[in-house]
Symmetry: C2
Subunit: 200 residues, 2 copies
Amino acid sequence: MISLSDHLDELVHEFSKLPGIGRKTAQRLAYFILKQPEASASQLAESLIRVKKNVHQCRICGNITDDEICRICSSPRRNQQLICVVEEPTDVLAIEKTNEYQGVYHVLGGAISPLDGVSPEQLNITSLLDRVGTVESAEIILAMNPDVEGEATTLYLTRLLKPFSHLSVSRIARGIPVGGDLEYSDEATLSRALEGRVKI
Amino acid sequence: MISLSDHLDELVHEFSKLPGIGRKTAQRLAYFILKQPEASASQLAESLIRVKKNVHQCRICGNITDDEICRICSSPRRNQQLICVVEEPTDVLAIEKTNEYQGVYHVLGGAISPLDGVSPEQLNITSLLDRVGTVESAEIILAMNPDVEGEATTLYLTRLLKPFSHLSVSRIARGIPVGGDLEYSDEATLSRALEGRVKI
């Protein structure tokens, strides 16, 4: 295919590195940028740089923050004895949206996945152990994704945390999603739902 | 919704200004950037700036180029007496992909659309008239999109170009697309296909 501009081709190439952006979409984005005033392109460019410069992990929980300690860890209204362990910062946002959880978080930064080369050492697990070692008592909720990697991480953390007698460790329930349909649920979900049945 | 980082929120906001990128996708892109090494974010940022700085319109045809005159206009193998008028640079790429067209282009930069506030004065029409005024004879192919705006532009250009006796003006054929199905063609396309029938 003919190239009209090397600079534009390069931008298309950069856009197509983003997840879910194919060559065709990347091209559309690049032409859109070309039509926009210079200010809006530099706003995006500066914002990219600023995020990489200023956003880092919270020293306590590993969540993302602009400051040293994140907004949740530094909030006086949060129950510091209730720690929900999640894989990613986006999981924190998902749980916050329920408006029900009043505890704090610990963000691992991923899940154990030998196939992707993610071992426990690369996750924020040491900092979790240090953290629970300093409290008198705490409840830990493990809220990993219900996939193979999440299950492995849950298992690994359970083994690590069980020996601490001052900790109560639980995991979030797996079952039929609200609004879901029994008929169309897969066997794994249904058997977890039966297993986790609750007395009424 | 709780905000974890102002800088990250800003990047999500910037990404969601791009066409076809909703809030959810913008968030996914921003988190992806956060996980990438700083170098790849600055590559994207620099590429954005470079495109706005260095890519501009060709002085002859209005197509995009890094130089003063675009690669097609400056090519000695192109027939300068055959000018295909298109709306956008992406249309040039589409026609180039056929590998059949050996002429040059004239890129209008859009189509006449009073509803979107695009009047003929905002398009590269004056430069087209100047251009055809300097040649001894030329064939002009109008290749606008087959929509209302494209039709209006074709009509407008036809009226402007017809008085020049040294020009032969044509428009690309409208009809059943190759691989298409007569049964499922819309009435407008079919009636254009009948109208534009070719003797065999």
